[in-house]
């Protein structure tokens, strides 16, 4: 059977893209909620 490296690359590439995209989404939302939570510092 031929090795079909293209399919292997597609499977691993897709997994990497999906997992990184989800991680980035979490980080972005964390930053957004962190910014909402951050108390405003006022200078005297």
């Amino acid at each position: 059977m031929p090795d079909n490296w293209g399919f292997v690359l597609a499977a691993y590439g897709l997994a990497a893209v999906v997992l990184i995209a989800y991680w980035r989404r979490l980080v972005r939302r964390e930053r957004a909620t962190g910014a909402e939570h951050r108390p405003t510092v006022r200078r005297a």
């Binding site: 059977m1 031929p2 090795d3 499977a11």
Partner: protein, 215 residues
């Protein structure tokens, strides 16, 4: 703590890749395309794990009304849907060169699709109900009902005639796979399980912050 888990996960994922491409041998019948197994099988393992956690957390929530249990169920369902989608996609990519088709309405593929749609419905239900307590209650019931589909998915290959092969690892009796392939698979199981813990921990923190902001 979450950051440490993230670091360890990254190292484990790198080790998983080394095992899948550097240590595990080329499979005799399928050739190198069989290496898709090292991402496909751990993905379905994480999906099973995630939905089992949804089941337990949902029971705890209904019994004790602990907000933390509801947040854990919500986070775990989201990560479970992500990994179920990944399982279906990588399985489809693996199916084309080995079975000659991207998709077939085989019992395993169909039952996994139903599992995916049910938990997608679980997430939609949570988003649709405005009252958080009511949403959590309904979602917990659905989280328990949907879990009955997990054994159906796993045993579908025994109960019906399917194109999908029976499990080589998660089954009773002695294993049939060579030790080095099992070792590569185990490293990836650990790496994906750590990734599950990392994602769920981050998502639970986020849900807590969002709840605090809304209060």
């Amino acid at each position: 703590m979450v950051r440490i888990v993230g670091g360890v996960t990254l190292v484990a994922l790198a080790a998983g890749l080394v095992m899948a491409f550097g240590v595990a041998p080329r499979e005799v019948t399928q050739g190198n395309v069989q290496r898709i197994m090292y991402v496909h099988v751990p993905s379905v393992w994480v999906a099973y794990l995630a939905f089992a956690v949804v089941l337990v957390a949902s029971i705890v929530y209904l019994a004790r009304r602990v907000d933390g249990a509801d947040r854990l169920a919500h986070a775990s369902a989201e990560v479970g849907v992500l990994f179920t989608g990944l399982t279906i996609a990588t399985g489809s990519i693996w199916g084309k060169p080995t079975w000659g088709t991207w998709w077939t309405w085989d019992a395993r593929l169909t039952s996994v699709s139903i599992l995916f749609v049910m938990y997608l419905g679980y997430l939609l239900l949570r988003g649709m109900i405005e009252d958080p307590d009511q949403g959590a209650r309904y979602a917990a019931v659905l989280g328990i009902v949907a879990a009955f589909n997990i054994p159906l998915v796993h045993f579908s290959v025994y109960w019906w005639r399917t194109l999908h092969q029976p499990p080589s690892l998660m089954k009773p009796g002695p294993g049939t796979m060579p030790g080095v392939i099992v070792a590569a698979l185990m490293v990836n199981f650990v790496a994906f399980s750590l990734l599950y813990v990392y994602f769920v921990a981050k998502r639970v923190n986020l849900l807590r912050r969002e709840a605090e902001a809304a209060a």
